[in-house]
């Protein structure tokens, strides 16, 4: 299944290549330092061994220690800046990603493609296009780890986390859960198969389900009774949702928050947390009635609706 061991050793993303470069430079610097220390320690132990009488002479100047402390500090700050630069770049998710949603649970990964295609443990993605993984967990903390991408992100229950990658070329790579999650933690592994864009399109087409993620969300919007209050013209005074995603929302508390996924999630599960200004806190909590995957479908629909209305979903 895996093409070769080299596949695991070499990074296949731009971020991975930058991590490797930083690592190799730090490794080289470390080796030089260790070699110098070993040479000094061994040299001193031989030259100044007891009974040889070769230990008279001036002592080391104490300004030395301030010198090497400051030199080290400068080198350390340089490495910190380099590592931070690569890290911060990776934290910024680029525009126009293909958004795939992952729900982790003991002990499997469930992936949902935008078209509604689902897969378990074995993820398929296109090469040459930024892919964003939005992670949720149904139970404990898990961690999405693809060593070939040098990429890891925890999936934390109760919130969404995200990461992204752009794989250079087709190939099959390991997927691991990296955060200890209980008895079968080491079995929570799979693969990420990078396909060429054409192959990916074909792969999706062969698996087109009856409804996409957003369509399923639209169905839930009615089935769970959301539309009863939130549709324009409803009897209940509730805010409209169709153009909400990514927009600022004024709260009764006087704060303003952006209606991102975390906000929408909280609004559905913990409605009393953020009450919208000008509305009564009448929304019931759906925390016992909706599971992670359906929540994800609803949010996908809200996002799609906003985009259809010309809102690109980004604040």
């Amino acid at each position: 299944m895996l093409e070769s061991l080299a596949d695991i050793l070499g990074a296949v993303t731009d971020f991975g290549a930058r991590v490797d470069a930083l690592f190799l430079v730090m490794l080289a610097a470390s080796l030089i330092l260790v070699a110098a220390l070993v040479a000094l320690v061994v040299g001193f132990c031989v030259r100044y061994r007891r009974g040889r009488g070769d230990h008279a002479g001036p002592r080391l100047d104490h300004r030395l220690e301030y010198g090497w402390s400051l030199a080290l500090l400068a080198v350390f700050l340089g490495f910190f800046a380099w590592g931070a630069w690569v890290y911060v770049d990776q934290q910024r998710v680029p525009d126009g990603t293909l958004q795939i949603r992952a729900v982790a649970k003991q002990w499997m990964w469930k992936f949902h493609h935008p078209g509604g295609q689902r897969e378990i443990n074995h993820l398929h993605v296109p090469a040459g296009r930024p892919v964003e993984i939005v992670l949720a967990s149904e139970d404990v903390i898990h961690s999405f780890y693809v060593p070939a991408f040098r990429l890891k992100q925890d999936a934390v229950p109760g919130r969404y986390t995200r990461t992204w990658f752009e794989a250079d070329a087709p190939g099959v790579h390991r997927l691991f859960c990296a955060e200890y999650c209980g008895t079968q933690h080491s079995r929570m592994r799979g693969t990420v198969t990078v396909l060429s864009p054409d192959e990916y399109a074909q792969w999706l087409a062969e698996r087109t389900p009856d409804e996409g993620l957003a369509e399923a969300g639209a169905r839930l919007y009615s089935a769970l009774g959301c539309s009863g209050c939130h549709e324009p013209g409803s009897q209940v005074h509730a805010p409209g949702l169709r153009d909400l995603y990514g927009r600022p929302v004024a709260l009764a508390s006087g704060e303003t928050v952006i209606a991102d996924e975390a906000y929408l999630r909280d609004a559905i599960l913990l409605p009393e947390k953020h009450v919208v200004a000008g509305f009564d806190p009448v929304m019931p909590s759906f925390s016992t009635q909706i599971e992670e995957a359906d929540l994800m479908r609803l949010i996908a629909w809200l996002r799609a609706e906003s985009r259809a209305g010309g809102n690109d979903g980004r604040p």
Partner: protein, 545 residues
């Protein structure tokens, strides 16, 4: 046995009662140190046995020796025992307990009965935890991450948490005892800047113990409350926040890393100075860097959470501070090396351990910098790279320092000399076995091998085999000091008061010391490590060439 009579009297081993009851009710800090030494040795062997079982399981990619549940229990048991019942008390409660009063010229610690109480709390809490872990099973890892530990794990998690909570009080009481002792009990002339660096290191450690351990206690109590009563603190299903646990846990557990390494640095400073017959280079900066590490160590906990979903800006601050805390650590390595310059060096057992410490600690520190470089951490966090890194610090550093210190002060502890050849042999064997066990883990870690994996994918097998082979060698290495030191208690030659020709007040009393440490209260007129002066003590035994 012929030498038994040649030990000076009175000494604390023979005078003051030799029955079990007199030992268990002693308030002599030197005897309490022995109570700790026997206990931590027991726990070290227990924790090592768990590790050995894990290494055997990992010989093959399939999980075939232990069940997944049993494997998870083994690494939990290993971590809990080694961190809390071995590493934290390892040097402070044994060598620190024994030496601090001797080094500052005091008759005992400030609160001798509190000292004994610390041991009873430790022994009770640790035994209780081990019982809970063995009887009911705990498979959360030593980190007890929520909501796994609070709402999902089966087994005796609550009992284990209570046990660790109890042991925490032993740390706090020991810490208070050390702080008060160093402030109040120093002999005339023993000014702060004449204190041996070992005392500085244990003083700084005591401060961390007193400040950090209560946070651990609170955190564990909150997990217990969530588990037992379903009150939502960490589990989002109950309205809690799982990352809150990580912040609280690492707020203790990162400083705890320095609880585990600072005393080792103190030991190494004593050893290097004595066996190079040189004053430690840059004494002031060495003491200052101990305090700097203790202080900065409280501000870096978020570097355990770079991929947890913590804000990027918070991550940047924690990354920066993690690089800063490495500066005083690096100063120490350079200054030990500089101490060797124009020294009069002899490679006794203690010195070999100290040099081993410097090498392994340096590798552990440098790989720590790689981990603090946030981008690299995204890749190697929660892999064997991290496992190797902290074992280089904790085992390569702390255990080497502990064994080096144990050999160095053994003549003072027992009045007897061990076999020097086997002492040196064990230091080299442990160094080689250690590297063979843990260096391959850096490589497979960078290749992506996640930690806490019962079974794994086959491409990592060669490194695991190498690591397991090293673990067997390491295990044999650890038995050598046990045999050598044990043998010396029965058959060893009488050591004399100061076999290494070391400065320091502890060498100015008899070996073993009398129950109240000094026949005449000492007065200090010299700096620490006064090896350069004409009347510095000389080794009273023939140095092997």
């Amino acid at each position: 046995m012929a030498d038994r009579d040649t030990l000076p009297r009175p000494n604390y081993l023979l005078d003051g009662g030799t029955t079990l009851k007199r030992w268990l009710l002693t308030t002599d800090h030197k005897r309490v140190a022995w109570l700790y030494m026997v206990s931590i040795t027991f726990f070290f062997l227990l924790g090592s046995a768990a590790a050995l079982l894990m290494r055997l399981e990992l010989l093959t990619p399939e999980g075939d020796l232990l069940t997944a549940e049993m494997y998870n229990r083994m690494f939990s048991l290993h971590g809990i025992i080694m961190v809390w019942f071995f590493l934290v008390p390892a040097i402070p409660a044994t060598l620190g307990n024994f030496l601090i009063p001797l080094m500052i010229g005091a008759k005992d610690l400030a609160f001798p009965r509190l000292n004994l109480l610390s041991w009873y709390i430790y022994a009770f809490g640790a035994a209780f935890t081990v019982w809970a872990t063995v009887a009911g099973g705990v498979d959360t890892g030593w980190t007890f991450y929520t909501p796994l530990s609070s709402m999902f794990a089966n087994g005796n998690v609550s009992a284990a948490i209570l046990g660790v909570f109890i042991v925490g009080f032993s740390s706090i009481l020991t810490g208070i005892n050390f702080i008060v002792t160093v402030h109040r009990m120093r002999a005339p002339g023993m000014t702060w800047f004449r204190l041996p660096l070992f005392v500085w290191a244990n003083y700084a450690t005591a401060i961390i113990m007193v400040l950090a351990t209560p946070v651990l206690a609170i955190t564990l109590l909150l997990v217990f409350v969530e588990r037992a009563f379903g009150i939502g603190i960490f589990d989002p299903a109950l309205g809690g926040d799982p990352l809150l646990f990580q912040h609280l846990f690492w707020f203790y557990s990162h400083p705890a890393v320095y609880i585990m390494i600072l005393p080792g640095m103190g030991v190494v400073s004593e050893l290097v100075a004595c066996f190079a017959r040189k004053r430690v280079f840059g004494y002031g900066l060495m003491a200052g860097s101990i305090l700097a590490i203790a202080f900065l160590g409280f501000l870096v906990w978020g570097h355990h959470m770079f991929v947890s979903g913590q804000a990027a800006y918070a991550g940047l601050m924690f990354g920066l501070l993690s690089f800063l805390v490495a500066v005083p650590s690096a100063i120490k390595v350079f200054n030990w090396t500089a101490t060797l310059f124009r020294g009069s060096i002899v490679l006794e057992t203690g010195m070999l351990y100290a040099l081993g410490f410097i090498g392994l600690f340096t590798i552990g520190g440098l790989t720590g910098l790689m981990l603090a470089s946030m981008a690299i951490d995204v890749h190697v966090h929660d892999t064997y790279f991290v496992v190797a890194h902290f074992h280089y610090i904790m085992v390569g550093g702390m255990v080497m320092a502990y064994l080096g210190g144990l050999h160095f002060w053994w003549p003072k502890l027992t009045g007897r000399l061990y076999n020097e050849f086997w002492g040196r042999f064990s230091a080299v064997a442990i160094f080689v076995g250690f590297n063979l066990t843990f260096f391959p883990q850096f490589i497979m870690g960078y290749q992506g091998m996640p930690r806490r994996y019962h079974s794994y994918t086959p491409e990592y097998e060669p490194w695991h085999v190498l690591s397991s082979a090293g673990a067997v060698l390491l295990a044999i290495g650890y038995f050598l000091p046990l045999l050598n030191l044990g043998w010396s208690m029965l058959r060893g030659r009488a050591a004399g008061d100061n076999p290494w020709g070391a400065t320091g007040l502890e060498w100015r009393t008899t070996s073993p010391p009398p129950p109240h440490n000094f026949r005449n209260p000492p007065v200090v007129q010299r700096e620490a490590y006064d090896y350069g002066s004409d009347d510095a003590p000389v080794p009273d035994r023939e140095m092997p060439r």
